[in-house]
């Protein structure tokens, strides 16, 4: 239900990290999603797919690393296109 807001927060986090690398473009982001985080993986993937298209960051793939019994909702990596 709140996954659209979570997806927007994820894009904000990605932008904040990217700001540390002026001129760089991200091609892939990694998210650690805890089973007990209160966030549904499928719903978040759907919402992220919708929002990223108009974010100015697309194409930017999202990998979700599921953490059994975990509570995390963390951006854990960005892959940058160095070229």
């Amino acid at each position: 239900m709140h996954e659209m807001g979570i997806a927007a927060s994820l894009l904000d986090a990605i932008r904040a990290e990217l700001a540390r690398y002026p001129g760089a473009r991200a091609t892939r982001a990694g998210l650690r999603l805890g089973e007990y985080s209160g966030v549904d993986r499928e719903s978040l993937s759907f919402c992220y797919g919708v929002l990223v298209e108009d974010s100015g960051l697309a194409p930017l793939a999202l990998d979700i690393e599921f953490e059994p019994r975990g509570r995390d909702l963390d951006l854990i990596y960005l892959e940058l296109d160095d070229e």
Partner: protein, 219 residues
């Protein structure tokens, strides 16, 4: 192509505001409790009975969240204590910024207990820290006793599970033992309490728990 390892909280902005709230609550020795449950589990009635049981000079205030209407604030405002409604206009949870805004103009120094009634929902409120000292989850006996298994996020985080509407136990197939077993399977340290806000059964234990939490911190 290069991969940059990170450990950044997606809800870091909410967590930052919540940390600020927690510091303010601590500075003024305000105990803040966040009540979470399904819609209709009896949060508002329990808070009504709670406020009705306090002495008039009790330093308590309530924030109550709903998607629409100020009905709950009207109900809770009858008891003479400060109450504010947070209407989320569609959002299925309270977040720390909503709480921060709702506290504007209140003197925290005049409080020792702040009760937050979250939007009725067992999923979304789980993700958002409000700066509270503890989350309290309510589970009514008209729901299934397997709710802790279905919604492990909140039951693994809550410090206290309150089983409500126990006056209805003779009429519903709710297994209290199973509910407690499931909840403690996720969260062995969780306190459990049974009560009926309607009849008053168990309300004394709840008030004693609140008094202890307000005076000494979490039991």
């Amino acid at each position: 192509m290069s991969r940059i390892p990170l450990e950044r909280k997606v809800l870091g902005e909410n967590d930052r505001i919540a940390a600020g709230l927690r510091e303010r609550f601590a500075a003024h020795q305000v105990r803040c409790l966040n009540l979470i449950s399904s819609p209709g589990s009896g949060k508002t009635l329990l808070l009504e009975k709670t406020l009705g049981s306090f002495r008039p000079d009790r330093r308590v205030a309530v924030l109550t969240g709903d998607i629409q209407t100020d009905n709950d604030a009207v109900r809770l405002g009858r008891y003479g204590f400060p109450v504010r409604q947070i209407t989320t206009a569609g959002a299925c949870h309270l977040d720390a910024r909503m709480v921060d805004r709702a506290l504007e103009g209140w003197q925290l120094a005049g409080l020792d207990l702040l009760l937050i009634e979250n939007v009725g929902n067992l999923v979304c409120p789980t993700s958002y820290d409000l700066g509270e000292e503890a989350k309290i989850v309510l589970l009514s006996v008209t729901e299934g006793e397997d709710k802790p298994l279905k919604y492990p996020g909140i039951f693994s985080r809550a410090s206290l599970m309150v089983l409500t509407k126990i006056d209805l136990l003779p009429y519903v197939p709710f297994d209290v033992g199973k509910a407690v077993e499931y909840a403690r399977g996720l969260n062995p340290a969780m306190d459990v309490m049974e009560l009926s806000a309607m009849t008053g059964q168990g309300l004394g234990n709840w008030m004693a728990w609140l008094d202890s939490a307000a005076t000494h911190g979490m039991p």
